[in-house]
Each structure stands twice: as structure tokens, then as C-alpha cells.
């Protein structure tokens, strides 16, 4: 494992762990942004440039801002009066630890620990566009339909109800 991988992985883990444990929700979203940028750096190291930039554009530029707007609108942005963790935090963390232990055991025992690394595949955006238009054309259209439905649905769900004047 190279130094760059360790730095990016440390950044991601610190950001996401802070996101799940800080008290102030806005601080949580900001450290989540740090973690997602760390993930984008990992994607760039793996050679998936398009996915890395899309991750920054969509998650940092849209989802994080949506989350902070929602926090502002639900007035949970000040110093929280109630405790940050729920009453069942012990069993929740125990479940998460068990899940991680099982996954780690499965990973380390299932794969051969070889050092032979395949060469870096060179993928250009042209190939991604070709694949999207030919092989993955149907999923592309379905995603378009799904995004339209989500857009209209989110607007309708979040719209304030019209008061009927008597």
C-alpha cells in the first residue's frame, strides 16, 4: 500500500467517523464532505477519473448542500437540547462492530493475498459515453425516468399544504 493510499484512506475514515459522532449536525455534514472528497481521491487513485469527478460534483455540490438546507429548515442547527445519540446506542454500535468483524474475516480468508497487480486500465470518457449509448442505453433511460419521478415527488412531498379558507 502506497503512502497516497494511506493518506486518502485516513482522511476518509476520519471524516466519516467524525460525521457520525459529532454533536452539531452542520459540523457532521462538513466532515462528511471531507470524507467524500477523500473517497473521490481514492477513485482517482484507482484510475476512475470520471467517477471521481462525478462524486465531487454530485455529493459535495448537491447532496451535502441539500442536507444543510434540510438541517436549517428543521431548526436542528443550533446547539442541540436533547442528547445526540439514541437510547439504544449500545446495541446499535455492537451490531455495527459485529458486521465489520464478519466482513473483515470474510475478506481476509476468501481472497488469495497475491502481490500480482494487473496493469492500470486506461479508460477514456469516450468509452464511457459509448457504453452508455449502446450497451447501457436502457438503464440510462430508466435513470432519467427515475430522476424525473424523484424530482416531482420531492417537490410534492415537501410542499406546504394549502390551507383551505372557510
Amino acid at each position: 500500500m502506497t503512502l497516497f493510499f494511506l493518506i486518502a484512506a485516513a482522511l476518509t475514515i476520519v471524516g466519516t467517523a467524525a460525521a457520525m459522532s459529532l454533536r452539531n449536525p452542520i459540523h457532521c455534514i462538513l466532515s462528511l464532505t471531507l470524507g467524500l472528497v477523500g473517497l473521490a481521491v481514492l477513485y482517482l487513485q484507482l484510475g476512475a477519473q470520471f467517477v471521481g469527478f462525478t462524486q465531487v460534483l454530485v455529493y459535495v455540490g448537491a447532496v451535502a448542500i441539500l442536507a444543510v438546507f434540510a438541517i436549517m429548515m428543521t431548526r436542528s442547527a443550533g446547539s442541540p437540547q436533547q442528547p445526540a445519540f439514541s437510547r439504544s446506542w449500545l446495541s446499535g454500535s455492537a451490531v455495527a462492530v459485529v458486521v465489520f468483524a464478519v466482513l473483515a474475516w470474510a475478506i481476509s480468508s476468501a481472497l488469495p493475498s497475491t502481490k500480482i497487480v494487473p496493469p492500470q486500465p486506461a479508460v477514456s470518457v469516450n468509452q464511457i459515453g459509448d457504453a452508455l449509448m449502446h450497451k447501457f442505453a436502457l438503464p440510462l433511460e430508466i435513470i432519467g425516468l427515475l430522476l424525473t419521478a424523484a424530482l416531482i415527488g420531492a417537490v410534492i412531498v415537501a410542499m406546504p399544504e394549502r390551507r383551505e379558507t372557510p
Partner: protein, 393 residues
């Protein structure tokens, strides 16, 4: 004529000459530093020149002199401004969130500087030739919105929060027409790499260049891109979030001294970067306008076009009144979004029709007729009456 002229390539050649003196192990790092340092020096210098140019230009539009005390005709004003902002006391409100308050201008300036990595400033003079260069530019630009929100929220002040929410809403609304307006160029050139886009525009038929702005879809795309770029950098006529007469400077009220100067630096650098992208996508990058002018070096042409676009920004700021928030959002979603989608359709029609006069006629009418219909249909029907005064008769 891709002859590597000595004057044209002087920066590239001098960088290679300097690298020859460095041991081979250190060469990648020194090469990176030698490429990045000029960007870090030139664009803040351009920012300094632009501040005084803008103040003098606005002054002349408003029939007064601009600053004219500090140097020859006032052109050393940025030095005085710099000394002032560096020596002012740095006041942070006691209830403000200290860490976020400090990080917001840093994130803004960092995101603005990162965007210059994919702009080709001259022939062979780009920092990184990324395969997905335009996507990288938009990804970095979306980090600016988060920095604006951080600035407004961390100040714990009603005006700054209100300004920040308005600014973020405006920026995410105008990001959609910005990206869609540049998709036309990506369709026409078949690549997301800025170097490939400029290389496609750098050829000539007799003396006329192949810039994308000289096609109907390119011209519409350029106009829509410039309107969206003005809104993205919160400049007049879209500067309601930072309007001085409405909400007292918006999301950076509680900042003073050097951090305030960093906000201005970040905003202007963002404006330069977006103008640089407009030049790369529509105006042919570093290519000369006529084929007999190619002896002038390529970086001179880039900066000349950049200065021209900056003057257009200053001109628009001095001329048009500020838009209200609902007018702003209505413009983005009801006018610019349909126009950009029609523009993409027109570019497709242009590609598949045989070249000639019919193509021009069809594409131009496909763009002008919906533009007129949309703008007539969206006008709010208010009857204009003769103005009567209540007390002054």
C-alpha cells in the same frame, strides 16, 4: 501553422531548460512547482489590476472619475487596498463558530485556484491535460457553494445567513444552465478535454477561424454561458446576495481585514476562471482571430480575450439594474433551462444537415422563435400607468 515559434513557446522552453539543472529524482516535484507558481502569481496580479480597472470603469460610466489619488491616474490603488486590508483588525464575533469561520474563505480561494489547472493558456501551456477536464472544472466550481454557505452560517448573524441562503439558491439554480450550455461544445468536439476543444478551433478556412461562437448554436451557448457565469460569481445584475443597499453585504458582513480580502480574491478568481472556460469553449482559446495574425504569441491572445470579457462584465455591472430574487430564479428555471435544451437540439440538427445556407436558416429560426415566444410569455402583465405622486403635487 503549428510551427513551434521561440517566442510563442518561451515559457515551455525556459521551464525545460531550468529542469535540466535539477537531479532526475526531484524532477516531477520541481516541474509541478514550476508550472503552478506562475498561475499563483499572474492571476492575483490580474485581480489587482481588475479592481482598479473596475472602479475607474464604473466611475466613468457613472460620469465621475474613479480613484485617481494613489499613483499615476490612480493605478497604484491596489497597493493601498492591500496594505489597508492586511493591517485591519481581524474581528471575529464571540458567538461565531471559530473553525468554520476561518475555513470558509480558505476553501473558497482553494476551489477558485484549482479551477485553473485545466485552462490552456497558450499552445502546449496547460497545467494538466485531463481526459475529463471540463467535468473537473464544474466539480471544483461546485465546492464554492459550500464555502459560501459555511461563511454565512458560521457568522451566526441573521443577515449573513439570509445572504448565504440566497446566494446558494442562486448558485445551484444557475449551475444547471451553465453546464448545459457547455454540453453543446462537448457534443460538437467529441471530447471533454480542454486541449482537444481548443485544438479543434485553432484552424482557419482562408482567413476566418473555426471558433464555435461563429455558429448559431455556439453564439446562443456563449450568451447563455455568460449570463449563467455572471450569476454564478454573484456579480451585478445578479448580486442580490451581496447587495449593499439590501442586506448590507450579505454573507461576508462579519468578516474584516484579510479574510474579507480573501473573499474578494476568491470571487474575482472565480470570475476569471469562468471567463477562461468561456474563452476555451467558445472563443477558440489561444487561437488568433485571423490567420494572418498567428505570429502574435498564443498566451497574448488568451489574456487579450480575457481582458475583453472582463471589460464586458464591468460594462454590464455599470449598466443594468439589479434583479429581484424571484425574477432571478424565474429567469434561470423558466427561460434559460428551456433555451439550453433547445440549443442542444439545434446543435444536433446542425451536425446532421448538409452544410450551406439552409442549415443556417433552420438553426437560427429554431433558436430565435422560441426565445421570442418564451420572453413574451414570461413577461408579467403589469399595465404601465402615468406616475402620480401622493405628496409632491
Amino acid at each position: 501553422m503549428i510551427v513551434p515559434d521561440t517566442v510563442d513557446q518561451i515559457f515551455v522552453l525556459s521551464k525545460h531548460w531550468l529542469l535540466g539543472y535539477v537531479p532526475t529524482a526531484l524532477q516531477p516535484i520541481v516541474s509541478a512547482i514550476l508550472s503552478v507558481a506562475p498561475v499563483l502569481v499572474v492571476f492575483p496580479l490580474l485581480f489587482a489590476i481588475t479592481t482598479v480597472l473596475e472602479r475607474k470603469g464604473l466611475g466613468r460610466i457613472q460620469n465621475r472619475y474613479g480613484p485617481n489619488r494613489v499613483g499615476p491616474y490612480g493605478f497604484s490603488q491596489p497597493i493601498a487596498d492591500g496594505i489597508k486590508s492586511l493591517t485591519k483588525e481581524d474581528i471575529v464575533p464571540r458567538s461565531a463558530d471559530q473553525v468554520v469561520h476561518l475555513l470558509a474563505p480558505l476553501l473558497l480561494v482553494m476551489a477558485a485556484f484549482l479551477a485553473y489547472a485545466v485552462l490552456p493558456i497558450g499552445r502546449n501551456m496547460v497545467l494538466t491535460n485531463l481526459n475529463a477536464g471540463v467535468l473537473f472544472f464544474f466539480a471544483v466550481g461546485s465546492m464554492v457553494e459550500l464555502a459560501v454557505f459555511m461563511a454565512g452560517w458560521s457568522s451566526r448573524s441573521k443577515y449573513s445567513l439570509l445572504g448565504a441562503m440566497r446566494a446558494v439558491a442562486q448558485m445551484i439554480s444557475y449551475e444547471v444552465p451553465l453546464v448545459l450550455a457547455s454540453i453543446v461544445v462537448i457534443m460538437a468536439s467529441g471530447s471533454l478535454s480542454t486541449v482537444a476543444i481548443v485544438n479543434l478551433q485553432a484552424s482557419y478556412t482562408s482567413i476566418w477561424p473555426h471558433w464555435f461562437i461563429f455558429t448559431p448554436w455556439g453564439f446562443t451557448g456563449f450568451v447563455l454561458f455568460m449570463i449563467a457565469a455572471t450569476a454564478e460569481s454573484n456579480r451585478s445584475p445578479f448580486d442580490l446576495p451581496e447587495g449593499e443597499s439590501e442586506i448590507i453585504a450579505g454573507y461576508y458582513i462579519e468578516y474584516s481585514g484579510f479574510k474579507f480580502a480573501l473573499f474578494f480574491l476568491g470571487e474575482y478568481l472565480g470570475m476569471f476562471a469562468t471567463s477562461g472556460l468561456a474563452i476555451t469553449l467558445f472563443l477558440g482559446g489561444w487561437a488568433a482571430p485571423f490567420s494572418f495574425l498567428t505570429w502574435i504569441p498564443s498566451y497574448i491572445w488568451f489574456f487579450a480575450k480575457l481582458l475583453a470579457l472582463i471589460c464586458v462584465f464591468i460594462w454590464i455591472r455599470g449598466t443594468l439594474p439589479r434583479l429581484r430574487m424571484d425574477q432571478l430564479m424565474g429567469l434561470a428555471w423558466k427561460f434559460m433551462l428551456p433555451m439550453t435544451l433547445l440549443n442542444i437540439f439545434t446543435a444536433g440538427v446542425w451536425h446532421f444537415m448538409p452544410s450551406g445556407f439552409t442549415r443556417w436558416l433552420v438553426c437560427t429560426s429554431l433558436l430565435i422563435v422560441p426565445c421570442l415566444l418564451l420572453s413574451r410569455g414570461l413577461k408579467q402583465r403589469k399595465k404601465l400607468q402615468i406616475r402620480t405622486y401622493r405628496f409632491a403635487e
